[in-house]
């Protein structure tokens, strides 16, 4: 089903064809709207590449983008990250971990009443900056914080 949808999206760019499929009930609108996985952005090996991949060349620092992360993560395998955007008309939020092999972790688009905020849990290989990027009115904004990943003992 997933493959079908992709094939349709790739081959049938003519909107008329899509509209026909929707009308015929072959596809639900939401599925049509779902974008292809952004391979270029997620597989980029540095932040510059990842930002370029999501269309955010040089995002501006913003105090209105709130990034909540622990100062020290007890375990790099599970680092809780909360992002809240107070920037008006925010439509998407992405989260990046600078020193991970592929920095882009996740990217969310919001619609239909969703508030521009998200909480997620990420893996971090080492102490690194965590970046949030928000898109609002076609512009990109960013905020960042360092999370220390500690050496573990026994126990747990």
């Amino acid at each position: 089903m997933n493959t079908t949808r992709r094939t349709v999206l790739k081959s049938a760019t003519a909107s008329g064809v899509l509209a026909g499929l929707i009308a015929a009930g072959a596809l639900r609108p939401t599925q049509v709207l779902a974008a292809e996985w952004n391979k270029a952005a997620f597989e980029a090996h540095d932040t510059v590449g990842a930002l370029k991949g999501i269309g955010a060349g040089a995002p501006a620092d913003s105090k209105d983008l709130i990034l909540k992360v622990p100062d020290i993560a007890e375990n790099g395998a599970v680092v809780p990250v909360d992002v809240i955007s107070n920037i008006p008309n925010t439509t998407s939020i992405s989260i990046l971990v600078e020193k991970n092999p592929s920095p882009l972790s996740a990217s969310f688009d919001f619609a239909n009443g969703a508030l521009p905020e998200v909480s997620a849990r990420l893996k971090m290989g080492q102490t690194s900056l965590v970046k949030a990027v928000a898109k609002a009115d076609g512009k990109f904004y960013t905020a960042q914080k360092e999370v220390k990943v500690t050496v573990g003992g026994c126990g747990g």
Binding site: D64, I66, K68, P70, D71, I72, A73, E74, N75, A77, V78, P80, I84, N86, P88, N89, T90, L115, P116, R121, T150, V151, G152, G153, C154, G155, G156
Partner: protein, 288 residues
């Protein structure tokens, strides 16, 4: 969506008062630690870890295993095609799970033994459902690719004692005897490093690296040692039981391996859980 920033910031602080404090400590830390700073930073780190744990416990992946365990408990399974719900007595009557976990280990006359929850569940799987014993012993603990059914079952049964008080029946002389034996196991030094359980867990306020070490001879320490088990372990992302935990302690003690579901492990669990009697169990937890 166009709410004022000030209001949102206030709301954020109200919801997460800790994050406000946190900014204070972070700022202090940046102010360059002098030579003796590590001790101060340790305290900040401990606070930070507690916050981190609280965040993680909001939504604990252990819930996934509780749900699986419930299926395993209620469905007819095994060679005898019977469910544990209709055949297994955890000490409060056949099929009763509510409150069973916090009253174990306990003595089971049908088995002639004091058993902890995992031992009892596996005993029921073998003796009531007709599972093959050797199969259940083969891979008793969770790995990346495999979570034993007994682990999910323990997680489910434990979840059914959430917010109830530990009440290991120490008045039962069988249980008391095993408790006293457990106390001796805790004291016993052996192996190349001369370690006993007490080397790390017999004094208040000690740490290994950043890990706090509960003093299991005290009510407070024993409570923190049994709390949060079974636990979802962030390292590896697997669900693990106290049977695993005790074995891994022995590994780090440089001891040989205790057999799965051994008397030794039951005796330790009896000692620790009974020392925690009266404390309220919070349900399956999350571990480093």
């Amino acid at each position: 969506m166009k709410y004022s920033i000030a209001v949102v910031a206030m709301l954020a602080l109200a919801v997460h008062p800790a994050s406000a404090q946190n900014k204070g400590t972070a700022a202090k830390k940046v102010a360059k630690p002098p030579a003796a700073a590590p001790v101060e930073e340790k305290d900040a780190a401990t606070l930070e870890f507690e916050k981190f744990r609280a965040m993680m416990e909001e939504t604990n992946p252990a819930e996934l295993f509780e749900a699986q365990g419930e299926e395993f408990w209620k469905n007819k399974r095994g060679h005898n095609n019977v469910s544990l719900a209709e055949s297994c007595d955890l000490g409060l009557g056949v099929g009763v799970v509510k409150g069973a976990y916090v009253q174990m280990p306990r003595y089971f006359a049908d088995a002639g033994k004091v058993m902890d929850v995992e031992r009892r569940i596996v005993w029921c799987m073998i003796n009531k459902q007709g599972f093959n014993e050797a199969d259940l012993m083969k891979r008793p603990f969770a790995s990346d690719s495999h979570t034993p059914e007994a682990t999910s079952l323990v997680t489910y049964v434990a979840g059914q004692s959430r917010d109830m008080k530990f009440a290991v029946p120490l008045k039962d002389p069988h249980v008391k005897d095993v408790y006293e034996i457990g106390k001796e196991v805790v004291n016993y030094r052996a192996g190349p490093y001369d370690f006993s359980c007490n080397t790390c867990h017999g004094t208040d306020g000690k740490r290994i690296r950043m890990q706090n070490l509960p003093n299991i001879s005290t009510h407070r320490g024993a409570t923190s040692a049994v709390m949060g088990w079974p636990g979802y372990r962030m390292t590896g992302g697997v669900m693990l039981t106290q049977q695993w935990r005790m074995g891994d302690c022995f590994r780090q003690q440089r001891f040989p391996q205790p057999k799965y579901l051994s008397d030794t492990v039951t005796s330790l669990l009896t000692y620790m859980t009974a020392n925690a009697n009266g404390a309220t169990y919070k349900g399956p937890g999350i571990k480093r």
